[in-house]
């Protein structure tokens, strides 16, 4: 194998693919990056054993073939090379990286030892607008659980019904549901996709601004492809909780408030509160946000541009969870529907139904 390319371009591709490499790989070959030079393209592949990430680069192929280089070492070398043309060549055993007067010989891994990408058989394919999917992922993925207590909650439910795609995530404290329209090729089906893989894909998507995303759902894997990036991930086997029955059918109190100022007020008042101190919303004729950190500081702020219907009530939330929900809203005006300080609040944009965010309150002492 022998390829040539500019250092900056190689570094960019190398770094983005290296993000997938697990720092915990105890088996060296699994921390490697496979460089595959085909007839007219070069693919860089890395895996963390949960997903494969492939990025294609436009580099000159002098000789076809493949090598697997130690990932971290490869990244370090690329970063430190002088600018200009870089040549990478070699086979199993030794790989030489040359740029200007620098030359590195790296011991590669046997190509046959590198995991191979599955062929996703009997899959359903659909196409989605990239920018919209990127936004949807930002709105939903953060509600997935980082905790490994209940495996299915670390994933995002990907559910297709007709031409509607619904993304759902919950960590059991909040729930985010987002609907999107599928552009092409819709068949019904569901899968639970690891949140980490979707977050990774979302970051790539935001970075490349590609507007055409293809998704294949197979029995065991899902494939996401946008421009030069392809991500293949395992799925989570299990039953996603029936989120529909969590969404309250009615409410007794209705708050309408300008989204941006509300979000900023939560941020400001939240500054006083440490992570585990709730922000209280005093609902009534006047709507106020308060937070008290006993012995340290108090903060309060009255909201403006609000309309409130219903009896006065105080309800408290984890400020981070509340901010997450508000950040997801795309409408100028936010709607919060509540009934009781111990039951979920619904956040959504005014006259918008494509994204709703359900949030459990914090029970105050006493």
């Amino acid at each position: 194998m022998h390829i040539e390319g500019e250092k900056e371009a190689l570094l960019e591709v190398g770094q983005s693919v290296l993000r997938a490499v697990s720092p915990r790989a105890t088996l060296p070959v699994l921390g490697g990056v496979k460089i595959e030079a085909g007839r007219d393209n070069v693919k860089f592949v890395a895996t963390d054993l949960e997903m494969f990430l492939t990025v294609q680069g436009d580099f000159a192929v002098k000789e076809q073939g493949a090598v697997v280089v130690p990932g971290r070492l490869f990244g370090d070398i690329l970063r430190n090379l002088p600018s200009g043309k870089v040549s990478i060549r070699g086979a199993d055993g030794e790989v030489r990286i040359e740029a200007g007067r620098s030359e590195f010989a790296v011991t590669g891994f046997p190509v046959a030892d590198f995991p191979s990408m599955p062929e996703v058989k009997e899959s359903q394919r659909c196409q989605i607008a990239g920018a919209e999917l990127a936004r949807a992922l930002r709105q939903v993925v953060r509600a997935a659980s980082p905790d490994e207590g209940r495996p299915v909650l670390t994933g995002v439910l990907w559910s297709v019904e007709g031409s509607t795609l619904r993304l759902v995530a919950t960590d059991s404290y909040r729930l985010a549901v987002r609907e999107l329209v599928i552009k092409e090729g819709a068949e019904s089906g569901t899968a639970i996709i690891p949140g980490r893989a979707l977050a990774e894909f979302g970051r790539h998507l935001a970075g490349i601004g590609e507007d055409e995303v293809s998704v294949w759902l197979g029995d065991s894997q899902a494939v996401f492809s946008a421009g030069s990036t392809t991500l293949v991930t395992r799925l989570i086997d299990g039953e996603f909780p029936d989120y529909r029955k969590l969404i309250p059918e009615s409410h007794t109190k209705h708050l309408k408030v300008a989204t941006e100022p509300f979000a900023q007020a939560v941020e400001r008042v939240g500054l006083v509160a440490r992570e585990n101190t709730p922000v209280k919303i005093h609902l009534g004729e006047e709507v106020q946000l308060t937070a008290t950190e006993a012995g340290v500081a108090d903060a309060w702020e009255a909201l403006e541009e609000v309309e409130f219907e219903g009896d006065p009530m105080v309800i408290a939330f984890n400020p981070r969870f509340l901010s997450d929900g508000l950040e997801g809203l795309e409408s100028q005006t936010a709607v919060m529907e509540v009934t009781d300080p111990a039951r979920p609040a619904v956040l959504k944009g005014v006259e918008r139904e494509e994204f709703i965010y359900l949030l459990m309150p914090v029970r105050l002492p006493g």
Binding site: T170, Y173, G295, A299, P344, V362
Partner: protein
């Protein structure tokens, strides 16, 4: 030298005048004598502190900044800088500490001091109060108002009446005279809701409350009635509590026969966790650092601690932590083989004065604090040994 008499007014309440605004004036002396308002300067902000010059315009805390601006267009508006206030508050605290070993801070700008011991050094309470106010001003540049009285409730009322930059002493003989004309809202624990109930009974002043038999008040307001009746007569038994009287709260047990069985060890830890948790809850406090103590049969003693992201007061939360700690201790044993344990202890430190607030979950199985609270109720009625937590927990896991 003749021995000084014991003061009948052992409690002092010290309250800094317009604290945040005064700190801002100290930082920027040009502002002296001008209406200074600290608060959110955005269109939605509210006033957090106003200098006395600003208060003349009717401006007070919690008022929307926009309204304050209309009332006093010339006022100088400043964004709060809590870090700065905390630093200044510590300086003031050092002065307080030099006057009393028992200081109970309430917030950044006020504190109770137990001054019963000051009789040996000062001719009288007034002299001591003057000394303290002079020292605070001299060492920090801030003015403080002081109330001195037989108890906390009265001391706080007194300092309120001393503002700004003054001192009020309520002698035991003057309590009744002082309290009677005050509105019922002045009673600690009486908010707008209770006040409106009292007013429905025709009780507007503290004097009105004193004239009513305590039993009628209790009928109308339950246990709060008794509380109010006592306060109205100037009775308040709460002592001044130094802010860190206790650094940790724990429970431990030494065994007659060394423990080796993992199941038994876990059962003991569960019992200890429950004991610590119920003590925390009984005091309405919580702790953020959980410590496990293990003494082996050869008398080596080890401790392992974890600081949690949030404070806890529940048996389950504490048990889950110590369970992980003990499993690490037992599995790290290596060559020592099956350890023989002589003593186990569980303690909570990094204590907070408040119970933890609790993030509710969609998942009903996560509602463990309910179990803790039910347990407390049962115990209160039937005694400490009425119910064991163990069975409840183990079956859930």
């Amino acid at each position: 030298m003749k021995s000084s008499p014991v003061w009948s007014t052992p409690v002092m309440h010290a309250d800094l005048d317009a604290f945040y605004a005064s700190v801002e004036v100290l930082r920027e002396p040009k502002l002296k004598g001008k209406p200074v308002i600290v608060g959110g300067t955005s269109s939605r902000g509210v006033v957090t502190s106003a200098s006395y010059e600003a208060r003349k315009y009717g401006i007070h805390s919690a008022m929307p900044t926009s309204r304050a601006r209309r009332l006093c267009p010339n006022a100088i508006f400043i964004q709060p800088d809590f870090e700065m206030y905390a630093v200044k508050s510590k300086e003031v605290r050092r002065v307080f500490d030099s006057f009393s070993p028992v200081v109970e801070p309430l917030s950044l700008d006020e504190a109770f001091l137990d001054v019963s011991g000051a009789s040996k050094m000062w001719a009288g309470p007034e002299e001591m109060a003057k000394g303290l106010r002079d020292d605070v001003l001299g060492q920090t540049g801030l003015s403080v108002s002081v109330g001195i009285a037989p108890n906390k409730f009265l001391a706080k009322l007194a300092s309120k009446h001393s503002k700004p930059d003054g001192m009020v002493l309520i002698h035991p003989d003057e309590v009744d005279e002082f309290l009677r004309p005050l509105p019922v809202e002045a009673l600690w624990g009486v908010g707008t809701e209770t006040a409106s109930i009292l007013k429905r009974f025709g009780l507007r002043t503290i004097g009105d409350v004193v004239n009513l038999p305590q039993s009628s008040l209790e009928r109308a307001l339950g246990s709060l009635g008794g509380h109010i009746a006592r306060l109205a007569r100037g009775i308040d038994d709460r002592g001044v509590v130094a802010d860190s009287p206790r650094k940790s709260m724990g429970a431990e047990e030494t065994f007659e026969r060394d423990l080796t069985d993992t199941g038994e060890i876990l059962r003991v830890l569960l019992k200890l966790s429950d004991r610590v948790a119920s003590r925390l809850r009984a005091r309405g406090i919580s702790g953020q650092t959980v410590t496990l103590k293990v003494r082996f049969s050869n008398f080596t003693t080890i401790t392992r601690s974890v600081t949690l992201p949030a404070e806890v007061d529940g048996a389950r939360s504490i048990y889950l932590v110590v369970r992980d700690l003990i499993s690490r201790v037992l599995s790290g044993g290596g060559a020592s083989g099956h350890p023989r344990i002589r003593l186990l202890g569980v303690s909570l430190s990094n204590l907070k004065d408040w119970p933890p607030s609790e993030q509710l979950s969609f998942d009903p199985a996560a509602g463990w604090s309910d179990a803790d609270r039910t347990l407390d109720l049962v115990r209160r009625r039937f005694g400490e040994e009425a119910i064991e937590f163990g069975v409840l927990l183990e079956s859930s896991d």
